[in-house]
C-alpha cells in the first residue's frame, strides 16, 4: 500500500496478526448492522411466547421449590426444593432479569417485562445495575479504568492495571467473590476507590448506599427470615435451602460472567484507544473483548444466553433467544475479516480465566502477544 492510499484509508486495527483499515472496519460494522436489522425485523409471536412461557416456568419452579423446602426435614424434599429454587433463581436473574433490564423485551409493550420498571431477585437494585452494567460495562467494554467489571475494583485482570501487593491474594479471594457474587455486584456500584480518590462525593455515596441497603434488607428478610419463619420448627431447613440456592446462583453467575470477558484471548483496551470510536470500531471491540461458551440448548438458557457473550455484546437489546441464530453468522463475518472468534467449552474457557487470575496476581505482564494467529 503506498503512502498516499494509507493516508486516505489508514490501518486502525493491528492486533494478533490482523490488520484492518478504516474502510474495512466500517464495512465490518455495516455487515453487523445488517444482521441486527434482519433479526430485529423478524421478531414476533414466537419470541413473545418464549419469554412468557419461561417466566411461567420460572415462577412455577420457584413456588414448587419453596413449597418442598417446607418439608425440608425429609432429605429428598430438601434436595429437590433447593435444586428447584436454585434453578429458578438462576433463570430469573440471568435469562429473564438481566435480559429484560437490557430492554430486550421492551418491544412487547408489556409493563411486566419492561426495562424501566423491572426489578430482579438480587441484592443489586435494578436502577444502579442498569447504570453500571448497561451503560458503563456495555459502552466501555473491557476498557481498563472505565469498565468496572474488569476486576470489580478488587482484582487485576488486565496487564494494563497497575500491580500492587494485595493482588497476590487474588487467587484466594476470587473464590470469596464467586460465593458472594450478588453482594459483589451490588456493592461494586458504590465505587469505593473513586470515593478514596475524591472523584465521588460522600453525599452521592450515601444516597447510593441507602438505596442498596433498602433492597438488601428486603432480600434478606424474605430469604433468611420470613420464609424460614413460616416453616415454624423447620426454620433451619428452609434457611439452609435458601442460603444454598443463593450460593448456587452466585457461583453459576460468576462462572458464566468471568468466562465472558476474562478468558485467555479476551482483549483489553485503553481509554486512549476508544477516543473518537466509530460504530464499526465499537462492534470490533465488543467482538474482541468477549468470549463464548459452547453447549446445548438447556445450557444456553441456564446461562441467560450469556454463553453467546459476543452476540450479546454486539446486540445487547436483541432478545436473547435469537443469539443462537446470530452466532454462526457473526462467526462467519468475523472469520472473513480475519478476526478471532473466541469460543470454547466451559471447562476450557474457565481454565484460561483461572490462568489469567493467577498470572496477574504477580507483577508484570502476560506474554506480549496473547492473541492467537
Amino acid at each position: 500500500m503506498n503512502a498516499k492510499v494509507e493516508e486516505l484509508d489508514p490501518i486502525i486495527l493491528e492486533r494478533g496478526g490482523t490488520r484492518l483499515t478504516r474502510s474495512q472496519v466500517e464495512a465490518f460494522g455495516r455487515e453487523i448492522d445488517a444482521l441486527r436489522e434482519e433479526i430485529m425485523n423478524d421478531l414476533g409471536e414466537a419470541d413473545a411466547r418464549y419469554i412468557r412461557r419461561l417466566v411461567k416456568t420460572q415462577k412455577g419452579m420457584e413456588l414448587a421449590g419453596r413449597g418442598l423446602l417446607f418439608l425440608g426435614v425429609l432429605p429428598p424434599a430438601w434436595l429437590a426444593g433447593t435444586a428447584l429454587l436454585s434453578v429458578s433463581k438462576i433463570l430469573e436473574n440471568m435469562e429473564i432479569g438481566h435480559n429484560v433490564m437490557h430492554a430486550q423485551w421492551d418491544w412487547l409493550n408489556d409493563p411486566a417485562l419492561d426495562s424501566s420498571t423491572y426489578d430482579w431477585d438480587n441484592t443489586c437494585p435494578a436502577e444502579q445495575w442498569k447504570h453500571s452494567h448497561n451503560y458503563m460495562h456495555h459502552t466501555f467494554t473491557n476498557v481498563v479504568g472505565k469498565d468496572r467489571d474488569v476486576g470489580y475494583g478488587i482484582m487485576r485482570l488486565s496487564d494494563e492495571q497497575r500491580w500492587n501487593p494485595l493482588y497476590l491474594f487474588q487467587p484466594a479471594y476470587n473464590w470469596v467473590l464467586a460465593a458472594l457474587f450478588q453482594w459483589g455486584v451490588a456493592f461494586h456500584d458504590l465505587e469505593y476507590e473513586k470515593l478514596l480518590k475524591g472523584e465521588k462525593s460522600w453525599a452521592e455515596y450515601r444516597v447510593q448506599r441507602r438505596k442498596i441497603m433498602k433492597k438488601v434488607r428486603k432480600q434478606v428478610l424474605k430469604d433468611y427470615l420470613l420464609f424460614p419463619a413460616l416453616a415454624g420448627p423447620f426454620f433451619p431447613f428452609v434457611f439452609a435451602g435458601n442460603l444454598s440456592a443463593n450460593l448456587a446462583r452466585n457461583l453459576w453467575a460468576y462462572l458464566i460472567i468471568f468466562c465472558g470477558h476474562f478468558t485467555e484471548h479476551a482483549e483489553m483496551f485503553t481509554e486512549e484507544e476508544i477516543v473518537g470510536e466509530t460504530r464499526g470500531q465499537w462492534y470490533l471491540r465488543q467482538l474482541l473483548g468477549s468470549s463464548n461458551l459452547e453447549g446445548g440448548p438447556l445450557f444456553h438458557i441456564m446461562s441467560g444466553n450469556l454463553s453467546h457473550q459476543i452476540e450479546h455484546h454486539l446486540f445487547p437489546d436483541m432478545p436473547s433467544n435469537r443469539y443462537r441464530q446470530a452466532a454462526p453468522r457473526v462467526r462467519a463475518i468475523a472469520e472473513r475479516y480475519g478476526l478471532h472468534y473466541n469460543t470454547g467449552r466451559l471447562s476450557r474457557q474457565f481454565g484460561t480465566v483461572l490462568k489469567r487470575i493467577h498470572r496477574l496476581a504477580l507483577p508484570g505482564r502476560r506474554r506480549a502477544n496473547s492473541a492467537p494467529v
Binding site: 414476533g44 426489578d119 442498569k130 447504570h131
Partner: protein, 361 residues
C-alpha cells in the same frame, strides 16, 4: 379517650405477601393460575363476544379487581397482543355502569390494527388490558331534564351507555336521541337500542343516510333544517354529541348559533397531520419547545433547548435515555422507520422528530 386497637389483619397480610414475593408482587405468582392477576394493570378476560352486524362486535369483559366502575360516557385504552406485541386503542364503554360487566363495542376500520383483530380474531377467554376509565363526556351530577343526543356511526357507543344508565335510574326527564347511520348493516347496538326505545322517557329516531328506511325510521342527513323541523325544542336542550369529524363540526356550528343550553361532545382521535423530516419538539414538563432537524436526535434537540436529559451511551444500546413521548411522530435514526406514538417510551438518542413531538421532559 377511646383507643383504636383493632388489628388490621388484611393490611398485615398484604404486607407479608409483598415481603415474601419481593421484588415482585404476590399477584405475579397468582398469575400462574389466572393470567388476569396483575399488580400493575387492569387485565380482563373476554367473557362474551356478541356480533353486531358483519363488521362489529360487542365484547363483554371480566376484569380483575383493579377495575373501578366507569361513569357512563367514559372511555378506556384497551390493550391486546397482536403478534406478541401489545397494541392499544381508545374505545368508549358501551355498557351502563350498572351492567354486570363492562363492555366495548368495536367497529372494524380496515385491515390490520386493533379493531380488525378484535372484530375478526377475538375469542371468548382471550386476555386484554384496560386503562382506568377516563373522560369528561359524562352527565352532570344532576341530570338535565331535557337532553338531546345526536350521534353518528361509532358515536353511538358512549351515548348508549349514558342513555341506558339514565333509563335504569329513576330519571324523570325527557330524552330525544337521533342517531345517524348509513344503513342497517352498519348499525351498532341496534337490538339494545330498540329495547331502550320502548321506554316512554326516550324518543329515539334512527336516521338513515344511505339505505331505505323501514317502519318508523327515517331517511335524511343532519343539517340545520333537519334539526328545526324534527326537534323543535332542540335549542333549549342540553346537547350530547359524538360522531365523525364532519358530523361533529355541523353540530358544534349549529349549537354556536342557536344553542341555549350546554353542549358536551366527544371527538374520537383523528389522524394528526403528517410531517416530513424534523419537526417541532415540545417539552411537556419544562414547557419550552424547539425546532429539530431531521438528522438530529431528540436528545440533541432537548440539549439544544437547554435541557439536560438523563442519558448514557448516545448510541441506542443502554436505554438510559428512555423517555415518554406523550404524542407525536418519530423516526428511528438507525433504521429510518417512522412511528406514530402516544404515551410510549423511546430512546431519545436514536430517534428524531418526524413532525410534531411532545416529550415528557
Amino acid at each position: 379517650m377511646h383507643l383504636e386497637t383493632r388489628f388490621d389483619t388484611a393490611g398485615w397480610m398484604r404486607r407479608l405477601g409483598k415481603a415474601l414475593a419481593t421484588p415482585f408482587d404476590p399477584e405475579d405468582y397468582l398469575a400462574l393460575f389466572d393470567a388476569r392477576h396483575s399488580a400493575r394493570e387492569i387485565r380482563a378476560r373476554v367473557h362474551r363476544v356478541r356480533r353486531e352486524g358483519d363488521r362489529a362486535v360487542t365484547l363483554e369483559l371480566a376484569p380483575n379487581r383493579l377495575w373501578r366502575p366507569h361513569k357512563a360516557g367514559q372511555h378506556v385504552m384497551l390493550g391486546v397482543d397482536i403478534g406478541g406485541v401489545r397494541h392499544q386503542r381508545c374505545f368508549s364503554l358501551s355498557s351502563a355502569p350498572s351492567d354486570p360487566r363492562p363492555a366495548i363495542t368495536v367497529k372494524r376500520h380496515g385491515p390490520g390494527g386493533v379493531s380488525d383483530h378484535l372484530v375478526n380474531h377475538c375469542r371468548e377467554g382471550d386476555l386484554v388490558t384496560l386503562s382506568p376509565a377516563t373522560g369528561d363526556f359524562v352527565l352532570p351530577e344532576a341530570a338535565p331534564e331535557r337532553i338531546l343526543f345526536l350521534t353518528a356511526g361509532s358515536g353511538v357507543t358512549p351515548v348508549h351507555s349514558i342513555v341506558k344508565s339514565l333509563l335504569a335510574s329513576n330519571y324523570e326527564g325527557q330524552l330525544v336521541w337521533a342517531h345517524f347511520e348509513r344503513g342497517y348493516h352498519q348499525w351498532l347496538l341496534g337490538e339494545s337500542l330498540r329495547g331502550l326505545a320502548l321506554d316512554d322517557r326516550l324518543d329515539f329516531r334512527l336516521v338513515l343516510t344511505g339505505d331505505t328506511p323501514r317502519d318508523g325510521d327515517q331517511a335524511g342527513r343532519l343539517n340545520e333544517h333537519w334539526l328545526t323541523e324534527q326537534v323543535p325544542d332542540a335549542a333549549g336542550r342540553t346537547l350530547f354529541t359524538c360522531g365523525p369529524e364532519g358530523f361533529l363540526d355541523t353540530v358544534i356550528d349549529w349549537h354556536r348559533r342557536h344553542g341555549l343550553a350546554p353542549l358536551f361532545h366527544e371527538r374520537f382521535q383523528s389522524a394528526p397531520a403528517s410531517g416530513g423530516d424534523g419537526g417541532r419538539v415540545r417539552f411537556a414538563r419544562s414547557g419550552g419547545d424547539v425546532q429539530a432537524e431531521g438528522a438530529q436526535s431528540l436528545l440533541e434537540a432537548a440539549e439544544a433547548a437547554g435541557l439536560r436529559p438523563k442519558h448514557g451511551c448516545r448510541m441506542g444500546i443502554c436505554h438510559t435515555c428512555k423517555c415518554r413521548v406523550t404524542r407525536g411522530r418519530v423516526r428511528d435514526l438507525q433504521s429510518g422507520a417512522r412511528r406514530e406514538l402516544a404515551d410510549q417510551e423511546i430512546r431519545i438518542c436514536v430517534h428524531g422528530a418526524d413532525g410534531d413531538v411532545e416529550l415528557d421532559l
